[in-house]
């Protein structure tokens, strides 16, 4: 039995970043890549289910991206994933979450897992769409923002709680197989020591092409997306009025602001 975990290697901006000449993205040089924070939790949830299960479960990490995402897949292998799959083709460049979802759905069709986990969103672009779009393409039951999960592999249904706004939880029962997007804090992700990451380097990462998955260039990239980036630009920062001086002076001004507020409120 398999659990498929879709992961993303996200990009954070380095100091003094620059926008690309064509204005549609940031210069690649200034991007610092790492495994998406949410994926630590979804992977850990899958590995926990595997460790608690009576029968053998295979946890498979899948990522859509070029060779550089192997680093993040290795981390997944070090953290307990049994296999790692990477899908890439030049045509995938410029895909929005829905186009990526199409690729993930194809992987899911070929692996036939009992469950598919993804993160609620990615820390770079926060679309919060890829997991649920994959479910729609697969035609699977789905739910988002799962903050606790009770699932026995192979069961017909699972019970989970979604974390709503304002600290409210909603308990739901869902038919399985299903796609669940996992929220931060659902568990405590384990530490992968550098040594285990190095050892995971020995495990192979299976690379698939679009053709392998029965997809064509038209299914992905801009052609397969539901939106297109026109331009990327630096926002005008709403600038706070900075209070200058040493700590004592700054604190005095803050104390004045507080007193003013309390005086007005009185």
């Amino acid at each position: 039995m398999k659990i498929l975990v879709a992961v993303k290697q996200v990009a954070a901006l380095d100091e003094d970043f620059e926008i690309r000449a064509d204005g549609r993205d940031v210069e690649a040089d200034f991007l610092i890549r790492d495994l998406n924070e949410w994926d630590d939790f979804s992977l850990e949830e899958a590995v926990k289910i595997k460790e608690a299960a009576a029968e053998p479960i295979e946890v498979i990490a899948v990522c859509v991206g070029p060779e550089e995402v192997d680093e993040s897949l290795r981390k997944c292998l070090a953290k307990g994933a049994d296999r790692a799959i990477r899908v890439w083709d030049a045509a995938i460049e410029g895909s929005d979450p829905i186009a990526i979802a199409r690729v993930l759905a194809a992987v899911a069709k070929s692996e036939a897992p009992a469950m598919l986990f993804a993160g609620v969103q990615s820390s770079d672009h926060s679309f919060a769409s890829t997991g649920i779009a994959t479910a729609a393409i697969l035609g699977w039951p789905h739910a988002a923002v799962v903050s606790s999960l009770d699932y026995t592999p192979g069961a017909k249904s699972a019970v989970f709680r979604r974390e709503l706004e304002g600290g409210l939880l909603h308990e739901v029962e869902i038919q399985c197989p299903a796609v669940l997007t996992i929220q931060l804090g659902i568990n405590t992700p384990r530490y992968a020591s550098l040594r285990s990451i190095k050892q995971a380097a020995a495990k192979p990462i299976e690379v698939r092409s679009l053709a392998d998955l029965g997809l064509s260039a038209g299914d992905v990239g801009e052609a397969g997306s539901l939106s297109r980036v026109r331009r990327m630009y630096l926002p005008d920062k709403g600038r706070a009025q900075l209070i200058e001086g040493d700590a004592a002076q700054q604190a005095k001004r803050l104390a004045d602001i507080i007193r003013e507020f309390k005086g007005a409120a009185a």
């Binding site: 672009h125 709503l164 706004e165 939106s227």
Partner: protein, 318 residues
């Protein structure tokens, strides 16, 4: 395709305020002859009609479904059918936990233009252009939807102001086709308050974030909050680590500082989820050692400095 279709949100018998923000947002998209309709899906949608009689709403569409609370399959099926019948140019939903559960699926199934967490919409040379954040909200990204006759947008909350004036829109009922749902909602669970504090009622809040470093430092700020007369709040990492009860968490999955007029954020970087809970506050003072922290973007006053030193100095004045 014309007009705007808004999907309002309700939960536990109450209309969620973000629904009203969508109404204001829709007005900017009107072209001549366009209508703005608001749909609401639940077992007894008529209950919400009065709450939706607001300026800018041309039509209220009640959709009676079998699920009283949000259910993905139900929503996708019903709204899909409604879109097929009404052919709106734009469908607006809130970028909320509910819409996380169905919007992308709906867009993928119907091939709608799609963008989430949108905070600005405009027409440029006739084309619909939406603006959202990128790379952790450090850049703005403009997207468009070439070739898509209907576009589904999930709008960020607390950006658009709800309409104030009343109106008398027409009311109609939409018969959604029966749909089998593959999930079954059970119950709502309130997280134990922890210390019965109601952040939503506090007028003066002092929040701490990751910048405080370790649990042992919480005491200093608890004492400071007491001294200045503020309610102690926090960002998510502090509550997740158990240093303060969850009831003290301000943010998207915590509480909204609805009644707050003065918000002092110490050691809070300003992640978008936290901002969601407090950026509307009239006077925000941010104290952080990182001059580039996002919190300075929403604050009225900023102090770039060591939060412990500032806390100590501030304490002397009270």
């Amino acid at each position: 395709m014309s007009g705007v279709l808004i999907v309002a949100e309700q939960r536990r018998g109450e209309l969620r305020p973000v629904s009203l923000e969508l109404i204001s947002a829709a007005q900017g998209l009107r072209r001549a002859g366009d209508e703005v309709a608001v749909a609401l899906l639940t077992t007894a949608p008529e209950r919400y009609i009065d709450a939706l009689k607001l300026a800018g709403v041309d039509e209220i569409i009640t959709v009676k479904v079998r699920a009283a609370e949000f259910d993905p399959d139900t929503f996708e099926s019903a709204i899909g059918a409604l879109i097929a019948e009404r052919h709106p140019e734009v469908v607006l939903v809130a970028h909320s936990v509910d819409s996380f559960g169905y919007a992308a699926a709906l867009a993928a199934k119907l091939g709608l233009g799609f963008a989430t967490d949108v905070f600005k919409m405009e027409r440029i040379e006739g084309e619909l252009v939406a603006t959202r954040g990128g790379y952790g909200q450090k850049v703005n990204v403009e997207v468009d939807f070439p070739g898509r006759s209907t576009v589904l947008l999930a709008l960020r909350g607390n950006v658009f102001k709800p309409p104030e004036a009343a109106a008398s829109p027409k009311v109609s009922a939409f018969a959604a086709p029966a749909a089998a749902s593959r999930s079954m909602a059970r119950e709502f669970i309130e997280l134990s308050a922890g210390d019965d504090i109601d952040m939503t009622a506090a007028e003066f809040i002092l929040s701490i974030g990751r910048g405080i470093g370790e649990e042992a430092k919480v005491a200093q700020f608890r004492e400071l909050a007491d001294a200045v007369g503020a309610t102690l709040g926090c960002s998510r990492p502090i509550a997740d680590a158990g240093w303060l009860p969850k009831s003290r968490q301000v943010g998207q999955s915590g509480k909204t500082a609805s009644a707050c007029k003065l918000y002092i954020a110490m050691g809070v970087s300003g992640a978008i989820q936290h901002l969601a809970g407090m950026k509307h506050v009239t006077t925000i003072v941010a104290v952080n050692s990182d001059a580039e922290a996002s919190i300075f973007g929403v604050a009225k006053y900023g102090i770039v400095g060591d939060i412990f030193e500032i806390a100590e100095e501030l304490r002397r004045h009270f």
